[in-house]
Symmetry: C2
Subunit: 357 residues, 2 copies
DNA sequence: AATTTTAAAGAGACCGGTCTCAATGTCATT
DNA sequence: AATGACATTGAGACCGGTCTCTTTAAAATT
């Protein structure tokens, strides 16, 4: 009886076949929905299956067909509204196509990510959607594609990897935002990101190995240089990996003698902490410091002031990635496609002219 | 060559065995980590496996062992920060125990939920964590447990189902909050929830078949009755299933002659829309209307005014559910446990005394 | 040296589906 | 009536692991 609970009351095609008085092969044809069967037999098998409460063992089916019917999704952190929305996009599309999603959080840790891919490969997922933690460390992803597994990169690309990719036009967005701030007279503009470097300091763009963020910082620094602002690298702050770190970094920055007059937050969770720190320090947004954030999180419009943000098509990012994957699953022979989705700056009230000292 | 891409370069134990010059059974012992093997042979098999880039086919393994190593999670909507945080709790715990998560969104739709459970059953998940859309419609869940599948209910219980359950003390929280509002002089208190009824109107608590919400409304109405307020049923608004509906419902309510002086929002997404509608209508929180929300979403502390909320241990809700499941997976013989986690009211500034007319 | 014990390795069935190929039956064609 | 075409059904191999049972070899015992 212990065994019965373990293996469930597992009814197999053979059981159904026996009850219906046909061969296993025939029952399988009905149950599996393939091959040709007479109506009379189909009827018999169907009722037998119903009576026995037969339920296909997808594992067994996958074994022979070689398709597991599930796709692996690896994201940094499902708790981050950016990812949860993207995952929603993925699941919606993928489910319509008859697939199921195995979700793994990498915590933006490369080792965890590697383990995740390994696990997913072992589970024989039919495809992979992943938001790689580091785009210069993609050996595990190459290994996956090499073994013929369709792979789609989400939000972060990698030049080293010639696979389907869906990203936002981060560079363009960053340029836009930076230009806007400079036009308002800002010269001390900080960029705060969760990405980290070995020494927790920023030196050059190459230090950043998260594609989306690298593109943004490149855009930021590019426009600054264009405008004649040099050495803006010192305003880039890395390592805002969690609320505590973010608070520490932002507090330090705002209390230092050289305080920025504007801050660009790389995601909504960072923007939130920046907001909190300002309140705590008694600083006003936008009077003392202007704030722009990536990701139009739903709440950014209800703060006082509401926050100017870069609206990314997050749901669509996920949905598009899923579409590319499903297409490739149906037709493996295509060349890699790189999709860039447009962003949009939503002007609200968290930025204003810099005070002329 | 088409086939090679489909089935990957699938290296099997037999291949490894051949290369290592041992029998399939022996190679399997090494690769599977069971049985007894000599060091010399283990060495040989291991290197052969490495050379061939052997990767266990978990599907095949699951077939014989009967354990798939994955658990199914069905939530209303991963986009909802409540669920994404709970799912984070689940995945963290479950991964540590060596399981992987198959995530499905039900969209709070009972048919989708049924289909989800069916799918997961077919995939032979080892266990199920589910936040049932309707706790009076659990035939599919009973079916699952009947077939011996461990099941844990998350955030919503069902008397009809004697299984492990993790919920928050919603009733108590609602009573607390309601009492507080009444003490402040409020007599017109609205409760807005996403739960819906067939005619989109609220009549009695029995209309609500989402456990957590029913308990809250019961608490709300109970305290009202205690305080001598009768007919408060008319202040319960159902059907705030998405931002649009929420806006419609709240706008109607605030523009009606009998306007509430306080509103309890059943989740943070509803609270957000309420906030927006107020701004749009030029109403002040808390001067015109007091607002309390369930779920201490991270942004609720930065609005103006910051919102008084019921803090639920959301991450823990998920983590505890996962723990219960893992425990049961290791030892099936226990009786069903019902865990109730404590909530806490976080007083901020969105409520104040009702004006005495 | 003969016998018993034990460790290690091999053979092959099995899990529950799918799928190929052969066998049977039916009906139209000549 | 004989032949061929086509529709159904059956038998059994196979997927890639696990697991039981046997066999073989080496070590221990008497």
């Amino acid at each position: 009886m212990d065994k019965s609970s373990n293996k469930a009351n597992s009814v197999t095609v053979a059981d159904v076949a026996r009850k219906a008085g046909v061969s296993k092969a025939t029952a399988a044809r009905v149950l599996g929905g393939y091959g040709i069967v007479s109506d009379r037999v189909r009827e018999a098998v169907t009722t037998a299956a119903r009576l026995l409460e037969y339920r296909t063992n997808e594992l067994a089916r996958s074994m022979t067909t070689g398709r597991s019917g599930s796709i692996g999704v690896v994201v940094g952190d499902i708790e981050n509204p950016f990812f949860s929305l993207a995952v929603r996009g993925i699941t919606d599309i993928v489910r319509k196509a008859g697939f199921t999603v195995i979700l793994i959080n990498s915590g933006e840790d490369i080792d965890t990510e590697r383990a995740a891919v390994r696990t997913l490969l072992s589970k024989r997922v039919d495809g992979l959607i992943i938001s790689p933690a580091k785009d210069n460390d993609v050996e595990h992803l190459q290994e996956a594609t090499r073994s013929g597994l369709p792979l789609v990169l989400l939000d972060r690309g990698s030049e080293a990897l010639d696979v389907d990719t869906v990203i936002a036009d981060d560079r363009h967005a960053a340029e836009n935002v930076t230009r806007k701030l400079i036009r308002l007279g800002h010269r001390h503009i900080a960029y705060v990101t969760a990405c980290d470097t070995p020494d927790h300091r920023f030196h050059t763009v190459e230090d950043i190995n998260t594609g989306s963020v690298r593109r943004r910082i490149a855009g930021f620094l590019g426009v600054c240089a264009e405008a004649g602002l040099s050495g803006m690298e010192r305003w880039v702050r890395v390592g805002a990996v969690n609320p505590e770190q973010t608070r520490r970094i932002v507090t330090d920055m705002l209390q230092s003698p050289q305080r920025p007059t504007a801050i660009i937050a790389s995601d909504s969770m960072i923007a939130l902490e920046i907001f909190k720190v300002h309140r705590q320090l008694g600083l006003s947004i936008p009077d003392d410091v202007s704030l722009v954030s990536f990701h139009d999180a739903d709440w950014t419009s209800v703060t006082s002031p509401p926050i100017t943000v870069v609206r990314q098509p997050v749901y669509n990012l996920g949905a598009t990635a899923a579409k590319l994957l499903v297409e490739r699953l149906n037709d493996a022979g295509q060349t890699a496609r790189k999709v860039v989705l447009r962003t949009e700056v939503v002007e609200r009230a968290s930025i204003r002219e810099a005070e002329r000292p």
